[in-house]
């Protein structure tokens, strides 16, 4: 038997209605039946307090309240019904400083748009099978920014290549999943650009080659 997503609920927070419709159609295809939506972080927090969903999928850039501000409120506010709720942040940003900014606010998972259905599913699967501990310190409350692998998990898509060096990893080795994700993205961009003789990448490679010499 597979995941019974119909037993769980999800809140989608997006200011772009067509994007809400798309994400909704994807999660409903996964099996979610209780899908709530909101158009910005403020509305999102209100909906979160009202429905207490099991998962939040939120855009970053929204006005007047963005996804990061909403996440901060969810993690910190006394009104929050579940400070541990998993939050998946969607954004077009893939630059490291942006990802770290999101991570440091207590985001659980990060997806760079445009994304594939498999990207979203993989993050949800990570939350279910490989949850992060929560850390509370003087200046941070949120999911541990490192993750341990659940060695017992034998999901249907577990293949040899999934256990390669850039996967979520060995039980004895803590890894920064978000940073790895950036590296994967960067590698993908470089490969894509290489195909088209991107001058920026060529210059980058040349520069690195010189350093190696």
């Amino acid at each position: 038997m597979g995941y019974e997503f119909h037993k769980a609920s999800v809140l989608i927070v997006e200011d772009n209605q067509p994007m809400i419709d798309l994400i909704r159609s994807v999660v409903e295809t996964f099996g979610f039946q209780n899908v709530y939506t909101a158009n910005d972080g403020e509305e999102g927090f209100e909906a979160f307090c009202k429905y207490n969903p099991d998962l939040i999928i939120s855009d970053w850039m929204m006005s007047p309240t963005n996804g990061i501000e909403m996440a901060h409120k969810i993690r910190q506010s006394n009104l929050s019904p579940n400070k541990y709720v998993p939050i998946i942040l969607l954004t077009g940003f893939s630059q490291k400083k942006r990802v770290i900014e999101a991570r440091d606010t207590g985001i659980t998972e990060f997806i760079v748009k445009p994304f594939k259905a498999g990207d979203l599913y993989k993050r949800i699967e990570n939350i279910i099978e490989n949850p992060r501990k929560f850390v509370e310190s003087e200046d941070f409350f949120g999911p541990d920014r490192r993750r341990r692998k659940n060695v017992d998990f034998q999901g249907p898509f577990r293949r040899n290549e999934d256990t390669s060096s850039d996967d979520v990893t060995s039980p004895f080795e803590e890894e920064d999943q978000v940073y790895k994700e950036i590296m994967k993205q960067q590698k993908k961009i470089e490969e894509e650009a290489k195909k088209y003789n991107d001058p920026l990448i060529i210059a980058f490679k040349n520069n690195n080659d010189k350093k190696d010499d």
């Binding site: 067509p18 159609s25 295809t29 940003f93 748009k113 445009p114 939350i127 501990k133 920026l200």
Partner: protein, 174 residues
């Protein structure tokens, strides 16, 4: 890297895995995932009106960046340029305009690497604005084929020239 003092003060929790408790285990059948991907790929949402709102925001960002009010910070000016382009990158590929995403991604790289809104940057962003407008009006969906590649190369060349001229602004060239 956190210092030892911070580490010693940090408390770790194992919060209840509510999602796991509700959905159980067993993953998701591959055909469901394929079906979801098909929905993403075959959506017929018209991207042009969505994109035009970001293009208008970019136009305002440009006007603001090159005619700033006295108390606006450099960070605010650059963010006013980056945000609409980021939205174009994020949404283009979701609504059958991956070429828009590809070109916008290059522009984000340029603006993130630039230190201030100078004339050269303004010229490239203007070119970007014109290019994206042309793509949208001509409904150049998908990768755009050879035409799409040429538009992309043109933006890449402009970025290349920019960073050669402003070497210190980019880690690859500095």
């Amino acid at each position: 890297m956190p210092n030892k003092e911070n580490v010693s003060k940090a408390r770790f929790y194992n919060p209840p895995n509510i999602l796991k408790e509700k959905v159980g285990s067993g993953g998701l059948a591959r055909n469901i995932l394929e079906q979801a991907q098909k929905l993403l790929e075959e959506n017929d949402i018209d991207f042009e009106p969505i994109a035009m709102t970001y293009m208008d925001a970019l136009r305002r960002g440009l006007d603001h960046a090159y005619n700033p009010s006295p108390h606006t910070t450099r960070f605010e000016l650059m963010e006013g340029l980056i945000h609409p382009i980021m939205q174009l990158k994020a949404n283009g590929g979701m609504f059958d305009y991956p070429l828009v995403s590809r070109i916008a991604d290059k522009m984000i790289e340029l603006i993130e690497g630039a230190t201030e809104p100078n004339e050269d940057l303004q010229e490239i962003i203007q070119a970007f604005h014109t290019t994206i407008t042309a793509i949208l009006h001509s409904k150049l969906k998908g990768t755009g084929g050879v035409k799409g590649d040429n538009l992309y190369y043109a933006i890449c060349d402009a970025c290349d020239r920019y960073f050669k001229k402003h070497k210190r602004e980019h880690p690859y060239y500095g």
